[in-house]
Symmetry: C2
Subunit: 197 residues, 2 copies
């Protein structure tokens, strides 16, 4: 199973991290993002959206890091990380949406501006970041994990860009519950890191 990967991408890292925790073997295929290799063959045929990561597992080809997490958890990791029940799936899914929406356009966006020079409205991204950090801090003040009282793909999806947003100029020091959650994740068996964490 191949993961077309960029080491500095939080979206790629969340897949590498989850695979490590769930002991799923991945063959990492580094893609030269700065040279635009994700917009050329062979990657562009695998993902016409021109984004990373892309997972290829036999005939299954998936873009979107949240979709890849759902697929890997469902196929290779029993119900530990992605349950079968409707209410439980709904609870985890709330946070997969947060990863795709608020985290992508807040903490991820501010880092894209500062670290990679993206032309994004940074004040708008900072407002979204402040909001999501406050909501996460509030939730994590009374919960050890985002959903189901245990680590799930919800934590894997939200964690990377939140923990990386100091690279976008965000001061994370006021957020104590977030910091404790970071440490719980970093304390999981088989945890792996990435540059910036």
């Amino acid at each position: 199973m191949k993961l077309y990967d960029l080491e500095l991408s939080g979206n790629c890292y969340k897949v590498r991290l989850f695979a490590a925790l769930a002991k799923i073997d991945l063959e990492i295929v580094p893609v030269d993002f700065l040279d635009g290799a994700h917009k050329r063959e062979p990657v562009i045929s695998l993902n016409p959206w021109g984004e990373l990561p892309v997972l290829v597992d036999g005939e299954v080809i998936l873009r979107d890091s949240q979709a890849i997490l759902v697929y890997l958890a469902r196929r290779y990791a029993g119900q530990a990380w992605w349950p079968e029940g409707a209410a439980q799936q709904g609870e985890v899914m709330q946070w997969l949406s947060v990863a795709s929406n608020e985290v992508q356009h807040g903490p991820n966006a501010v880092r894209l501006v500062d670290k990679f020079g993206y032309e994004i409205d940074k004040p708008q991204a900072m407002r979204l970041t402040d909001r999501i950090l406050g909501l996460l801090e509030s939730h994590l003040s009374s919960h050890d994990w985002l959903a189901l009282g245990r680590p799930t793909i919800a934590d894997m999806a939200v964690f990377p860009y939140v923990a990386l947003c100091h690279e976008g100029g965000v001061d994370l020091s006021p957020y104590q519950a977030l910091d404790q959650w970071f440490n719980r994740i970093k304390g999981l068996d088989h945890y792996i890191s990435m540059p910036g964490l």
Copy 2:
């Protein structure tokens, strides 16, 4: 089962639409959004994020329209709209992420500016809209439905704000495959509409 609802919200409409198609009974509870009722009791305790829709089904309380679609489909609609298989869930999930990310910050955002006066960077939202409309048009030029070759919650999640974005000043007339997809959705048994469609 109660849906705390705003008639003009595409996120609320996607839940009403899916429930209608899957013949799931919802008790609609209108929330006076313009008067800020979603930020006051009883709604704010149900959803501290201060957003609509919110679903309450016995002890299950869910925010986020994509999470609500997953819950309703999993609990009440067999595998027709949200399958059990890993590859199939991954395929649908790709589009639930698109609904949370690109659709929310493109087609939804331009409408929020024009119709409701939100202070959002409209040129940035227009660029995101152009990109997602092009990607959707390309995909739908060779697919009748977004995923699995049949209507799923993927279509329900993405459809509303894309079909509404003319209210944000977007000219949808160049997108013929999109228009045909709109018509396929509108032709489904038990389809219901909303203002602007």
